[in-house]
Symmetry: C2
Subunit: 573 residues, 2 copies
């Protein structure tokens, strides 16, 4: 695809996944890393790699001599050597060495972002003395974060100064490191966005994700983040703006804090592929690794940038960390292999407790479904989630299926009518639930039922009621789901009272009303709604409609052949 | 994941993609192929490969000595040598050498399938003489297929004997090859199914796909095949049964013909990953290559086997063939990189006209959308399909968007009412179309509109009508989509006539009826239906509902603060 050769400083898993993406585009890569068995070197036999450290100017020069473009899988490289080699040889380097230099010193990074009006947590440079740290405590209050400016990752290089008494320990833990202090951000979530910058300066952001840390190391990533659309969009804009402030090209991982008031602050930026972007391998058409390769070689980006592969893709990434017993982590991987919708990626590394050995991506149409699969993989349950159930999010009590349709009625006296709808749902194999929810007698229960329905995975609610039938309309007012209303005929007024109470909703709140007592049609309508995006239901509906036609044709034949009198004599109402 | 090393006979693109899948599971592979730069060898630097031919017993023995399991990426290997090496060393071989031997002689393959009651085209063994071929002509009629029993692929080794006069040419083209003749199958489509067989004998089938050939070489693969569900299912069962007839483990590509009467005949089987399964890399969670690796190493398969990644995934695979001018095919790849939802896979091969250099996978929620993307990639259009449009399948005339909702009405006199619904759809940004379809005056047009709607990508139809309002119910009777009915108030009976005509549908055909004249609610209901599976619409609906609440609260505040009399004086109806 491109005749340029890419030299990669660093041969770990990020380098390995860059190499894999480059292979698919017939782009050559050469790795600079110590030893011959680095993860990235294992999967590339095209050219001899360079044996050495990415901090060694000589090794960097050796790599540059064989390549057209240099890039990094880690920011802790010798940036002075990069700048020198660029001067000497004219090799292209992305991200720019100046950008790497700015970013690898976290305090310079912060200063750069502040200068560019990007929101970050308040920080100050600080000397490694008790007096200086006490001054910070008076300024920021306790707790505050003490951080190493350099060589900090996966929580290493950070210390929480809970109060004055922790200062001596902080100085001991972070001895011999240049430090800065950061005001405590009592965030509600940690979010992250991968942003790729093309050589022409255009930036493209991936979806906003949520990172969950355990013991200071990334445990899982939820994509998209479980926050509302506005926050997701704002996070992308913040990340875009941050990445726009760095010239050059390449992918960046932007980590941020979401504060209780909705404010977003950038925590830190990585000038390379990032653990929070591993989900892109399965959930996106173009992975973060391929995006990086395309960006630094100047290959085209997808026009109107593609993020998630479909509007309804949800995913969870789970890191596979080295277990306390050697290869113990493989049990996790084995369970992932058993789990539909999960993929395993191992990095070819020797096992060591806490080491990032690989990751697992789970992809599904709903996040709750992803979580069920995660629970199986992590051994919290022994029920493997069934493929067929992936759409829905809620288990019917006492069964193993999760309802897609909720059938509710104002009173048990409506059940004889509503049960006809249940029969149809059963006949089609639609998972559903049935219960009594009265608008007038259990208003709180109704409100909760309506509000919770989407999160529980319901796709449609069928509500039946008689008389002054308020249930369907009130439920519709409290849920964004489609609500189908069944007017149930009472002892007076022939059901017209219920029909008008249900159908004559004011503008703004629709109820899909069916005929009086016709719960059958309500269920068929719910199935048509499911069929809009899930073809299994549409094809069952087509079969059902064809069968109806056949039944009528059979009857017509019988009537034509036997005559109307004979037909009438055997006619069952 | 598994400490066994896999030896692969053959180092082409299929081997390369097996190696890639094995890497991700930390499984070692060693390649037997001539030279050091075979595609599969390029991406594996873990262990020294074997330089030699997969037809050379000595080279096979050398490979076996380094491996625990042998497999093939091509069936034209020396199976006697495999059987011998298995005896000598106990190395496991999957697929079984006996299976490869049976399959690589296409006539033995046919006989085996017939013995196992698997439907195949009628075939006979034939001598390479004019007399014998004339006998076949009298038996099968013309045209018939003359095929080489061995070393036939990509159309090479096949000859269509159109009539008696072609026999001498046939004998010349297929000289020195063992032959068999096959009765002409005038198929309507070529279908294929990938089936993986685990060591315990369980078979798992991927979806049925459709293969399109040009100049006897695979051009595109449509997944799933554009045939109805019943045929898809029958093709999977036929493929499953065929693969069950071969003991051992591994993945098989099963190619078949669909005849005009719906009959399916197996054309041929490949005991390895197959070109028709390349779409699985993007459209399925577990690719054919990973499935093969798992099957032959005995690693777990996903329980309740995962096929397509979501129920609504459609994909097209396009082969990248060497262009007549060197690297000319890269223009195709470049266009694919520009296309959202497309991925490029190149094989590291030197370019040669007609050579399989790589493939492109397109994935989308609809097949029509895949085809639009394909048209861009193949240079048939210069409009890059927009990401946002991918859900739907039909362009509104004069615009570039495709409608999700169809708004129809019985008469232009309904437009003032129905336009209120259009305003809502516009406000939400839902692509829609508006037209007049009268049940009573244009019954044929109505029938066509209803029947075509799902194929055109409509997800919901809103139908408005007055008086004896038959349109919504009749449309509902002829489409499996949800139909929303709007009773339009006429000059008499206050709209109750329309309401009852629309809502009181018989059991079997539901119409989602809204209030008289309330096209606003009809549109809101349609948007709720879209939101069931596409969260962008649900979140817009939530915003809309929140805004409604805010508006009422503002009014309440104004009324409370200013008093009811002042409020009334400025009240606009």
């Amino acid at each position: 695809m491109d005749s340029q050769t890419i030299g990669i400083l660093g041969g770990g898993q990020l380098g390995r996944m860059i190499v894999e993406a480059a292979h698919r585009l017939n782009i050559k890569t050469i790795i600079l890393e110590n030893g011959s068995q680095a993860p990235a070197k294992q999967i590339n036999a095209l050219d001899p790699h360079v044996d050495g450290s990415f901090k060694d100017p000589k090794a960097i020069a050796e790599l540059a001599a064989k390549c057209d473009i240099l890039t990094v899988e880690i920011e802790h490289v010798d940036t002075d050597a990069l700048i020198q080699v660029q001067k000497d040889t004219g090799v292209k380097i992305f991200p720019l060495p100046e950008t790497i230099a700015l970013i690898k010193d976290k305090y310079l990074q912060k200063e750069h972002l502040i200068k560019n009006n990007i929101a970050v947590a308040e920080s100050v440079d600080v000397e490694s003395t008790e007096a200086a740290l006490q001054d910070i405590g008076s300024k920021f209050g306790y707790p505050y974060m003490l951080k190493s400016r350099t060589m900090a990752y996966d929580g290493r290089g950070n210390f929480v100064v809970k109060d004055k008494s922790y200062i001596p320990e902080a100085l001991e833990v972070l001895a011999d490191r240049p430090l800065y202090a950061e005001k405590w951000a009592s965030f509600t979530k940690e979010l992250a966005v991968m942003v790729v910058r093309a050589i022409d300066g255009t930036v493209y952001s991936y979806p906003t994700v949520e990172t969950i840390h355990r013991d200071n190391i990334c445990h899982t990533v939820y994509a998209p983040a479980r926050v509302n659309d506005t926050i997701q969009k704002r996070a992308q804009i913040l990340a875009d703006n941050a990445v726009k402030s760095f010239p050059g090209a390449g992918i960046f991982g932007v980590e941020m804090f979401l504060l209780p008031d909705g404010e977003l602050l950038i925590n830190e930026i990585a000038p390379r592929p990032h653990n929070s972007g591993h989900y892109t391998i399965d959930a996106c058409v173009t992975s973060q690794f391929e995006a990086h390769v395309r960006a630094i070689t100047g290959l085209p980006m997808p026009k109107n940038f593609t993020c998630l592969s479909t509007a309804s893709t949800n995913s969870i990434m789970l890191n596979v960390l080295g277990d306390s017993k050697p290869d113990g982590e493989l049990e996790l991987c084995r369970r992932a292999l058993e789990t539909p919708h999960a993929s395993v990626y191992l990095y070819g590394k020797s096992t060591r407790p806490g080491r990032k050995m690989g990751h697992i991506n789970i992809v599904s149409q709903s996040m709750v479904d992803c979580e069920r699969r995660l629970a199986y993989i992590e051994g919290e349950t022994d029920t493997v989630p069934n493929e067929k159930e992936q759409v829905s999010d809620n288990v019917v009590p006492g069964t193993s299926t999760r309802p897609l349709v909720g059938v509710i009625m104002g009173s048990d006296s409506d059940l004889p009518v509503m049960s006809l709808g249940c029969n149809i749902l059963k006949q089609f194999g639609v998972p559903f639930e049935v219960t009594i929810v009265s608008a007038h007698r259990t208003p709180q229960r109704m409100a909760k039922y309506a509000a919770d329905a989407p999160q529980r995975g319901l796709k449609c609610i069928i509500a039946g009621a008689g008389g002054a039938a308020h249930l369907p309309g009130m439920v519709a007012a409290m849920t964004p789901l489609p609500v189908v209303g069944v007017p149930v005929k009472g002892s007076t007024l022939d059901g017209v009272d219920s029909l008008h109470s249900i159908v004559q909703m004011p503008r703004g709140i629709p109820v899909a009303t069916v005929a009086i007592n016709n719960a059958t049609n309500a269920a068929l309508l719910a199935i048509r709604i499911l069929g809009v995006f899930d073809s299994q239901w549409m094809s069952k509906m087509e079969t059902y409609m064809n069968n109806m036609e056949d039944e009528v044709l059979e009857k017509a034949e019988k009537l034509e052949n036997g005559g109307y009198e004979e037909y009438l004599s055997t006619y069952k109402k």
